[in-house]
Amino acid sequence: MFKHHDPIRKLARGFHYQHLYARARELHGIQIFENVSDLSKIQIEFLYWLALYNRLYQDLLMREPFLTEETINDDFLCDCYLIWEDKVKRKKELERIKNPARDYSRDKKQIDRSSKIPSVVFKKC
């Protein structure tokens, strides 16, 4: 995790390879690389990023919290989001499975620390 732009990640999240990846999963005749076996380290890493960005684009469509297009397009913010997923989201999901009766509606929302508007909670009388 560091503020830099990895061209391999940029290629993986781009339309061309995302489209190719989606088609390759549906139709077995489509290849992403010239070689089908004996993949190099960088090819395996590329496949990892292809699959990961594919999932993130799906999560974006599902309006997952904290995930934006800016997050996907910025390597650093994306790494932060993945750490958040690993440390917070997964933990909450596990908790939900273990304790389905708890009320999760008051869980943490995105914080806007710069806003001067006081937060208001509307309640039914």
Partner: protein
């Protein structure tokens, strides 16, 4: 410099150059993933590195074992474990395990900041957190560089460097009119290459090799 229409030509030029560099990087990255060899241009010739075959891996395994024995037989060489002890016993002790622990602590702090960065909506607040994470990462990297430098003379590091160089010697090929030929005919020629051009070529080849292989074979 702005002209009459208020167009800043230098700014536009810088932006265009940045975009072109980005395109070059993407093109290079695409070239690196299209198959399991990597071709590159150097001084007007085309070279490539590829994954070593079974015979070459066997050759590498043998020279690695031989080199390891040779390094361990030399009483002037120390293993990483011994070197760590030597550094700790100095009049001004250098505590490598403590430095490694500090690296892990930095990582925990960075990850905690990463969670805050994701949960913070305001850009100025988020930028502040990003700066904090960046500076922690810099400190973490400096510590890692220092450890690498301190341990650079140990047997394990010498062996790793030797294997990387030997790999380049084995798999670096140059394109001729009809096919690919080994660039260095034998290991002596590789070791005797003294000019700066060869050094740069080996350096670039090693960089591409690292993208091909998971570990030192």
């Amino acid at each position: 410099m702005e002209n009459a229409q208020g167009i800043d030509r230098q700014k536009i030029l810088a932006e265009v150059t940045e975009k072109l560099n980005e395109l070059d990087e993407l093109q290079e990255a695409e070239g690196m993933i299209e198959n399991n060899t990597i071709e590159f241009q150097y001084n007007g010739s085309i070279y490539r590195v590829r994954k070593p075959n079974r015979r070459e891996r066997e050759e590498l395994r043998l020279v690695k074992n031989k080199k390891q024995t040779q390094l361990l037989k030399d009483p002037d060489n120390v293993t990483e474990e011994e070197l760590i002890k030597v550094l700790l016993d100095r009049s001004v002790p250098v505590d490598i395990p403590k430095m490694r622990q500090d690296i892990r602590t930095f990582q925990q702090k960075i990850e905690s900041l990463a969670v805050d960065i994701t949960e913070t909506a305001s850009k100025p607040d988020r930028d502040k957190l990003i700066d904090q994470a960046e500076s922690l990462r810099c400190e973490q990297l400096n510590l890692q560089y220092r450890i690498n430098e301190l341990l650079s003379s140990c047997v394990e590091k010498q062996l790793k460097d030797f294997i990387q160089e030997y790999l380049v010697y084995i798999v670096l090929e140059k394109r001729t009119d009809t096919n690919w030929v080994k660039h260095f005919k034998n290991y002596d020629e590789f070791m005797n290459s003294a000019n700066e051009d060869d050094d740069n070529l080996i350096y670039r080849a090693a960089h591409y090799m690292a993208a091909l292989l998971h570990k030192d074979v």
